[in-house]
């Protein structure tokens, strides 16, 4: 036990010491902490009136959050609870004379640390919550406490489910059937309600407000803690908090007394986890490629020199999907269309901006980044500009197609013409070009080993600085000549600006492979 505590202690202390060595990261982290604190303080002053409608929506949001959080924790527990561990844990701890239960607790403690991100996200969301719901002045503390308890219990339950499933395959199946069965029941109820009401949003809110959720242990207790942020903290809230803590202690007691042997699974999966983590650490979204079915194709690399890069990308794309459509295309299109359906009143421009925002977030997972991780693109005897053009062409075409598909479907949602839909699709494609090619200058600026968070923030700011002049220009020009161009001038100016900026970035990137370090 002492060795594990030592390990945890050292991890925390050394990560704090690291901050001292990286003053820029420290400054940025302090900046973010101050921003969160101020937004919390300012948001508390704005409070909406208490009404049945906003209470119902508030309840639905947090119940949905609880259900999703618990489902993910249990799913991870059933399928790959061993991912609590890194390869270093497998190498050092599994071989050490330490009880497997203690090592499992160590994994759990680390998992808790990983859940910390939810608190940051919640803190960011707090002003929005205060703006829309009648949350008490001290409500933010209750919401954070509720989330802490949820994360704590979800992690313990994940470990418990994993431990039970590890004893016998039969137990694993039983636990799996129970979790998926319950999820299926809840989803069936939700779908039934949505169909019955005919209004997706209202149907979901009505279903999540059904009183029986209050009586489900753990779920009901957690929900009531969240609700007390609006209705007020009282003795019942204390009881619910105690019940959650007692449940956690009970689960931990069971885990400690189980006969565990999970090292083999953990060792195998920790290698996969290392790969995923290294991708995530460098700011990439992992599209679960390990589980993707890979098609056997008879395609060949038909072109030479720089064009061979494009040819290779097409071959890779054919193996996991259509050439121009993959998981990210479906996700961006799907998410954006749901957004369009819900936020119909905000207008079609809001959809365009939302898609650009998602694009920026996911931009570090695209093919261009993958090419830069391998040494081949640096060594291929071809000019930098040609290598850049061919390495980004597929990604640009994919974005254009994503834009066209999304906006053609969106024409039905917003009741706009097909021509406008097509122009909007092209506008989105042109934004992708700028975001992609901005990376060329960002790489030169950010060659200083910043943290992922700091790098993302600076990247985001640079892209914003590049995009904003185009938006302002399009607004002014559109204001004067929109009536002569059937309202399309704004988009046409944006397309022109984005194209010029993209070409400028390509021209500036001459010799980039000689000027940047391979990461």
């Amino acid at each position: 036990m002492r060795s594990i505590i030592y390990l945890l202690q050292k991890n925390i202390i050394n990560s704090l010491k690291e901050l001292r060595k990286r003053p820029l990261k420290l400054i940025l982290d302090i900046g973010v902490a101050l921003f969160i604190t101020f937004s919390l303080i300012l948001s508390i002053k704005v409070s909406t009136q208490l009404s049945d409608t906003n209470i119902h929506i508030y309840k639905s949001i947090f119940l949905g959050f609880i259900l999703m959080f618990l489902f993910i924790a249990l799913k991870v527990g059933i399928e790959k609870g061993n991912t609590f561990f890194r390869l270093s844990d497998a190498n050092f701890l599994f071989t050490a004379p330490i009880k497997p239960q203690l090592i499992l607790f160590y994994g759990f403690a680390k998992q808790m640390g990983n859940n910390f991100i939810f608190f940051i996200l919640l803190a960011f969301l707090m002003p929005h919550l205060y703006n829309n719901f009648p949350i008490k002045n001290y409500g933010w503390a209750i919401i954070l406490l509720g989330t802490f308890l949820l994360a704590l219990l979800a992690s313990i339950m994940g470990v418990l489910v994993y431990s039970v499933g590890n004893i016998k395959e039969k137990y694993k199946n039983v636990v799996s059937y129970a979790v998926y069965g319950l999820t299926g029941l809840i989803l069936s109820g939700l779908i039934y309600n949505v169909i019955k009401s005919g209004e997706p949003l209202q149907g979901t809110v009505d279903f999540l407000n059904m009183s029986f959720f209050n009586y489900i242990p753990i779920i009901g207790w957690l929900l009531n803690i969240y609700i007390s942020a609006v209705l007020g903290f009282n003795f019942t809230t204390v009881i619910y908090i105690c019940l959650i803590i007692l449940s956690g202690i009970g689960f931990l007691f069971i885990i400690y007394n189980l006969d565990l042997d999970y090292y083999e699974d953990a060792l195998n999966n920790s290698i996969t986890k290392e790969e995923r983590l290294s991708k995530a650490k460098s700011g990439k979204v992992v599209w679960n490629q390990f589980d993707t079915k890979i098609r056997k194709t008879t395609g060949k690399i038909n072109y030479t020199r720089g064009r061979a890069i494009l040819s290779k990308q097409i071959l890779e794309a054919r193996k996991i999907g259509l050439i121009f459509i993959d998981k990210s295309t479906l996700f961006i299109s799907g998410f954006s269309l749901i957004f369009a359906y819900i936020m119909q009143n905000a207008g079609v421009n809001s959809l365009l901006y939302m898609m650009i925002y998602i694009n920026i977030i996911f931009s570090q997972s695209n093919q261009w980044y993958k090419e830069l991780e391998k040494h081949y693109i640096y060594l291929i005897p071809e000019s930098s500009i040609k290598k850049i053009v061919y390495a980004t062409l597929l990604e640009n075409i994919k974005a254009l197609i994503t834009g066209l598909i999304t906006f053609i479907i969106a024409t039905f949602i917003y009741d706009i013409g097909l021509i406008e839909g097509l122009i909007l699709g092209i506008t989105y494609g042109s934004f992708t070009c700028v975001i992609l090619f901005s990376d060329l200058i960002i790489r030169r600026i950010l060659g200083v080993g910043l943290s992922v968070f700091a790098e993302r923030l600076i990247r985001f700011l640079i892209i914003a600085v590049v995009l904003i002049p185009g938006l302002i220009l399009s607004f002014f020009i559109g204001f004067f000549i929109n009536e002569y161009t059937a309202g399309q001038a704004t988009y046409l100016v944006l397309i022109l600006y984005n194209t010029l900026i993209s070409l400028l970035f390509i021209a500036l990137s001459k010799g980039i492979f000689e000027k940047i370090d391979m990461r």
Binding site: R305, E316, Y378, L379, E382, S383, F513, D517
Partner: protein, 231 residues
């Protein structure tokens, strides 16, 4: 073939390579030895053009980052880096096409056979073990018919047969006039192979001798290594 002059490389404030100079002639095998963190891999990556650096690196009188120099240079990294979605043969096709190499198929078949990859030709990069990935990486490096090859810890993860094949390949390439740089910290792995040895420590070359010079001094490479590095 290769002329490295006053090469310096820093990572943030840490000087990884502190102004080193050396040459590699045509048909010469140069080994770079050194303890972990000596700067061996950094030197190799600078020559491959993967890092920014100060100083000069010339390959056949061409700046190492020019296209002409890249055409005659190959690099086999320490950690094999394959495309997850390309098969073994597709990797070779890709590299051959990218370097515009014609009629490489027979050479590729010969290399598959030498490295026991004939039955793995249609396996995806991600389905291969680390050792097999290393073999693919070596084949990709050889298929471009380079005049200078950089091997960074090439024996890591290879099975005994592959090590034997690789060693005989080193000698064949040398006889064909190819300049070879091998970076390693395992002295036993390159005994009998090298023509010139460089020993690095803390970013400096602290020892440079040809095989003949070492033979005359009546010392083994291992003895020299431990004496020079003080470990």
């Amino acid at each position: 073939m290769l002329d490295v002059s006053d090469l310096k490389k820093s990572y943030h404030k840490v000087e990884a390579v502190k102004g080193i100079s050396f040459k590699v002639s045509t048909g010469e095998i140069v080994i770079i030895l050194g303890p972990n963190g000596a700067g061996k891999s950094t030197v190799i990556k600078c020559i491959a053009g993967l890092l920014r650096y100060e100083g000069d690196i010339w390959i056949n009188s061409l700046k190492n980052k020019t296209l002409e120099a890249k055409r005659i240079l190959s690099y086999i990294p320490e950690t094999p880096s394959l495309y997850e979605l390309l098969t073994v043969s597709e990797h070779v096709d890709f590299v051959a096409k990218a370097y515009n190499i014609k009629d490489y198929e027979n050479r590729a078949e010969e290399l598959y056979e030498r490295f026991d990859l004939l039955d793995k030709k249609n396996k995806l990069g991600k389905e291969l073990s680390k050792g097999m990935q290393q073999k693919v990486s070596i084949i990709c490096g050889l298929i471009t018919n380079p005049k200078l090859i950089l091997f960074d810890e090439p024996m890591m993860g290879l099975d005994p047969k592959a090590i034997k094949e690789l060693k005989s390949l080193f000698l064949e390439l040398r006889d064909a006039g190819v300049g070879i740089i091998i970076s390693t910290h395992i002295i036993d792995s390159i005994i009998g192979l090298w023509d010139k040895a460089l020993i690095m420590k803390d970013g400096n070359i602290i020892y440079e001798r040809s095989k003949e010079e070492l033979t005359e001094s009546d010392e083994t490479l291992e003895e020299v290594f431990f004496r020079a590095t003080g470990i």
